[in-house]
Structures are given as structure tokens and as C-alpha cells.
């Protein structure tokens, strides 16, 4: 086996790229440093282990993960459809898929209410037939987060599918594999890095989701108050607490994303 990650030779980066690159990095990191500098480190541990923070963090992680799972379940097939099927108006559909990216999340939340709310097009039926309504529930948080985060997954997976060589699927067919088996055993593994990258983006977006969540699912500690909501409300009265919550959210997401990258993306490429 040839060793992966061979030594780079002649890796001198031209100055004209290096300068904006470093500026870009600084641009992304300096606000973080500002947060960290502001954090009330002395009282941080006691604030950190308060029940509210734990509850919000747990809920955030749970909802972001569930939303990611939902996005994978719906988004991967959608990406496949966009990349492989012969669809009329594919360009338009692709543009529509990215709508949640463009839509202000609060508007997305209102849109969700109009459809899935208690008086919404579909929500009204759900309420009528099953006595079930999504707003103000943890499931509602997951739906709101999935709505906003799914484009990241779809775009990423579709890109991977387009880059993947469809002839491998033909090879599988000549070996007797039907479409589903081919998808499962050939297509999916070959686009795994793209799926993981998309899922990671999706998860990160879901974790930070605020506007659609608070609009669609409201805000009730333990049920729908995720970290971003807690941060926003803390900012109203006690900016210190907001900073602590933000730092926690940051730390957790950085750790999770770093681990995922390590485990998946580097492992597969």
C-alpha cells in the first residue's frame, strides 16, 4: 500500500494568496477572540454547570443531530434525484432547494407556521385528525432546523454525485445489482465524503439555528429553548451569561466538527 499523505514538495504559497488568506482567517477568528476575551472566566464554571445551560445544550445537540438525521433521510434521495434523474425543470428545482439559504430564517419560521402550524395548510389536518401540532414542541425545533439546514446537505451531496462516475453504477448493474442495491453498496460509499461533509455543515447550521426555531417552535426551557435562543434572551439582560453560553456552544461544536473531520473526511480521502 502506498502511504497516504505523502510529503509535500515545493509548498511555498505565493504572497498574493497568503496575505488575503491570513486576513480571511483573521476576519473569521477575531470575533471569536473577542467573545473569549469578554468571557467572565472566574465565574464561568459555576455558570456553566447551571441546570439551564446543561438543559439548553443537551436540547441543542439532540435537535441538531435529529435534524441532521432527518436531512440525510430526505436530502440524500433529493440530491440523487437532482443529480441523476431526468427531471424537467431541474435548474428551477435546484434553485428552489436553495431557497431556505436565502430566506431570512424568521420568514422561514413564519412559512413553516403557515404550512405546519395549528392553522396551517397541513398542520390543521394534523391537529384535527391526530390532535398533534408541531409548534412549541421539540419536534418543531427539529423541523425548523432541518428546513434551514437541508440545503447545505443537498448541495453538498449533489456535488459529490455529479463528481462520481456513473459508470460504476453501470458496472454494478452488469453484476446483477438492482438500483437500490447499487445505490446502497456502490453510489453511497463512493460519495460518502460528500455526504459526511454535507451532514457536518448541516449539523453546524442546525446547531446555530435561531430565527426559524424561535418563530416556529417558540421558546420554552427544556422543550424548545436551544442554546442560540438562550444566548439571545440572555443578551437582553446579562451579556456575560450570553458570552458564556456562546463560548460553550462554540467549544462543543468545534470539538464535534474536528472529531468528525478527523474520523471521516481525512479517513476517506
Amino acid at each position: 500500500m502506498s502511504p497516504r499523505g505523502s510529503r509535500r514538495i515545493g509548498g511555498r504559497v505565493p504572497l498574493i494568496l497568503l496575505l488575503p488568506a491570513l486576513l480571511g482567517l483573521a476576519f473569521l477568528l477575531v470575533p471569536l477572540l473577542g467573545l473569549l476575551a469578554q468571557a467572565p472566566w472566574s465565574t464561568l464554571p459555576s455558570r456553566l454547570f447551571s441546570a439551564d445551560v446543561g438543559q439548553a445544550l443537551k436540547l441543542s445537540l439532540l435537535c441538531a443531530s435529529a435534524a441532521t438525521a432527518l436531512c440525510l433521510f430526505l436530502g440524500v434521495p433529493l440530491a440523487w434525484l437532482l443529480a441523476r434523474a431526468e427531471l424537467p425543470g431541474r435548474g428551477l428545482i435546484r434553485a428552489l432547494v436553495t431557497v431556505p439559504l436565502v430566506l431570512p430564517p424568521v420568514v422561514g419560521g413564519v412559512a413553516l407556521l403557515l404550512v405546519l402550524g395549528r392553522r396551517g395548510l397541513i398542520g390543521e389536518r394534523l391537529d384535527l385528525w391526530f390532535g398533534f401540532s408541531l409548534p412549541f414542541t421539540t419536534a418543531g425545533v427539529i423541523v425548523a432546523e432541518a428546513f434551514v439546514a437541508m440545503p447545505f446537505l443537498v448541495i453538498s451531496v449533489e456535488g459529490a454525485l455529479r463528481a462520481a462516475d456513473p459508470r460504476y453504477e453501470e458496472a454494478a448493474a452488469t453484476l446483477g445489482a438492482g438500483r437500490w442495491l447499487t445505490f446502497r453498496r456502490v453510489t453511497l460509499p463512493s460519495i460518502a465524503p460528500g455526504v459526511v461533509a454535507g451532514a457536518v455543515l448541516c449539523w453546524a447550521r442546525a446547531l446555530g439555528e435561531f430565527g426559524a426555531t424561535i418563530t416556529f417552535a417558540g421558546n420554552l426551557p427544556g422543550r424548545t429553548t436551544t442554546m442560540p435562543l438562550a444566548v439571545y434572551l440572555a443578551l437582553e439582560t446579562d451579556p456575560d451569561v450570553a458570552v458564556v453560553l456562546s463560548v460553550v456552544l462554540l467549544a462543543v461544536s468545534v470539538v464535534v466538527l474536528a472529531c468528525l473531520r478527523e474520523r471521516w473526511i481525512s479517513g476517506l480521502r
Binding site: 413564519v110 407556521l113 402550524g117 395549528r118 409548534p135 412549541f136 418563530t215 421558546n219 434572551l233 437582553e236
Partner: protein
């Protein structure tokens, strides 16, 4: 040729002299009158009333332009303290005003009361504040961190009602949205908000609202770039014309 040039120059000097003399003769009150742009930071609940007031004010003072920044009072207070260029601050709570100006320098110009907002037709059959303790009803109130939530807490504390909200909204407009979309059976919002959304929302007054009257203070800011304009605007808000607009929007006189 030379002669003509001199003549023109002399005429110009003379004209300048006359103009200078003339300006000395204009009454002092007129020079101190408002001019330029007045920047007003105002609580989100004032959006409708102040937009109207701004237009009236501009009509009354030609050449003056009023620019508004409407947002939550606490956010505005933070912005001003971080150096945002404001001439006037109108807050929905004395607390936020105090963060900016220190205690007692502002004037209370209106009061606002809480009211129960229900969707048109009142599908949840809400009759009064006691319905907020009904677990089977969908209820929204503002989070306690924001002024309308603080006011709501005061009311509940005073009446001993244990509210069972389904959501603690981040501001009063969010609570109102939930009502107008029919997602909740009732929410506690300001009387002015109910009036502003009267096509979709009905208001139910309740006597306990008096336990939490919300004072709206207004003040010119010491760092104002346009102190004259600021003062003129505040005066206009406190004038009879200003009061009429605010009352029409549902605010009570202080």
C-alpha cells in the same frame, strides 16, 4: 480692461458686506431653530406612532429630516452605549433608559398597558387572565428578560396566577405573530400592539393590567450631534399634536 476688473471686485466686496450686515439683523431664535437630520432610536412598539410623528414633525419644520432606528429597547440601549450616533432615545422601559442616561433625566411621555390578544373570533374562548393558567390552551407570553415579559410577570405575581405558557417569546411582535397566525389561543401583549394588528387580533382588557403600567421615557442624549433638532423633536412628541398621534395609537397619557 483694468477698470472693469476693479469695478467687478468692488461690487463683490460690497455685496458680501451687505450680506454680513443682514445676517446680524435676523432674530436669534431662528438661527437656533432645528436643521439637518435628527436621529431617533425608539422602542419597536413605537414604530407606527413615531413614523407618523416624524412625518408631522418634518412638515412642521421644513428642512429637517428625522431618521428612525426601531428595535428592542435593550438592544437600542446597548447600541447607544457602544457609540451609535443617536440624538433622541425613546425607550419602552425606564430601566433601559437609565442604562443610557442615568437615573431621572428622562421624561415619561406615554404609558402602555398589557392586554390579552386572541386570534380573530377567539377560537380558544379566552375570557380573562385566568385562562393563562389553563394547560390545555396554547399560551404565549414574552420572555421575562424583555420588557413585555417583565410586565407580564408583574401582573401574574400580583394576581397569583401561575401561567402555563407554551412559549416565552423574544419580543412582543413575535408573541403577536403567534396570535395573528392562530398558533396560540392567547398572548399577553401591549394594548398598542393589539390596536396595530386589529385586522387579525382581538384585544381583551383585564383589570389586573393596571398592576404593570409600562412607562415610556424619552430623552435627548448628551452626545447628540444635533442637540437643537433633538430638543425640537422631543418637544414635538410632548406637544398636543404629538399626544394626539400617540393616543390614537393606543398609548395612555402619563
Amino acid at each position: 480692461m483694468f477698470r472693469r476688473t476693479v469695478a467687478v471686485a468692488l461690487t463683490a466686496v460690497a455685496a458680501l458686506a451687505v450680506a454680513a450686515c443682514g445676517s446680524n439683523e435676523v432674530p436669534a431664535s431662528s438661527t437656533a431653530g432645528p436643521a439637518g437630520t435628527v436621529t431617533v432610536f425608539a422602542a419597536a412598539s413605537l414604530t407606527g406612532a413615531f413614523t407618523q410623528l416624524g412625518k408631522d414633525f418634518e412638515a412642521a419644520h421644513p428642512g429637517v429630516k428625522v431618521v428612525f432606528n426601531f428595535a428592542g429597547s435593550s438592544a437600542l440601549a446597548q447600541q447607544i452605549n457602544s457609540g451609535a450616533p443617536a440624538d433622541v432615545f425613546a425607550s419602552a422601559a425606564p430601566k433601559n433608559m437609565d442604562q443610557v442616561t442615568g437615573k431621572g433625566t428622562a421624561t415619561t411621555f406615554v404609558k402602555n398597558k398589557l392586554e390579552i390578544a386572541v386570534p380573530k373570533g377567539n377560537p380558544g374562548k379566552v375570557t380573562g387572565l385566568k385562562d393563562f393558567a389553563d394547560k390545555d390552551k396554547k399560551i404565549a407570553v414574552c420572555a421575562v428578560q424583555v420588557p413585555c415579559g417583565a410586565a407580564a410577570k408583574k401582573v401574574f405575581d400580583a394576581t397569583g396566577i401561575v401561567a402555563q405558557p407554551d412559549s416565552l417569546e423574544q419580543d412582543v411582535k413575535a408573541a403577536l405573530t403567534k396570535v395573528s397566525l392562530g398558533e396560540v389561543d392567547a398572548a399577553l401583549v401591549y394594548k398598542t400592539d393589539v390596536l396595530a394588528a386589529k385586522s387579525k387580533v382581538e384585544g381583551i382588557e383585564f383589570p389586573e393590567a393596571d398592576k404593570a403600567i409600562n412607562d415610556y421615557p424619552i430623552a435627548t442624549l448628551t452626545k447628540a450631534k444635533n442637540p437643537d433638532g433633538a430638543k425640537a423633536f422631543v418637544d414635538y412628541v410632548l406637544s398636543a399634536q404629538g399626544k394626539a398621534v400617540l393616543t390614537a395609537a393606543g398609548f395612555d397619557a402619563p
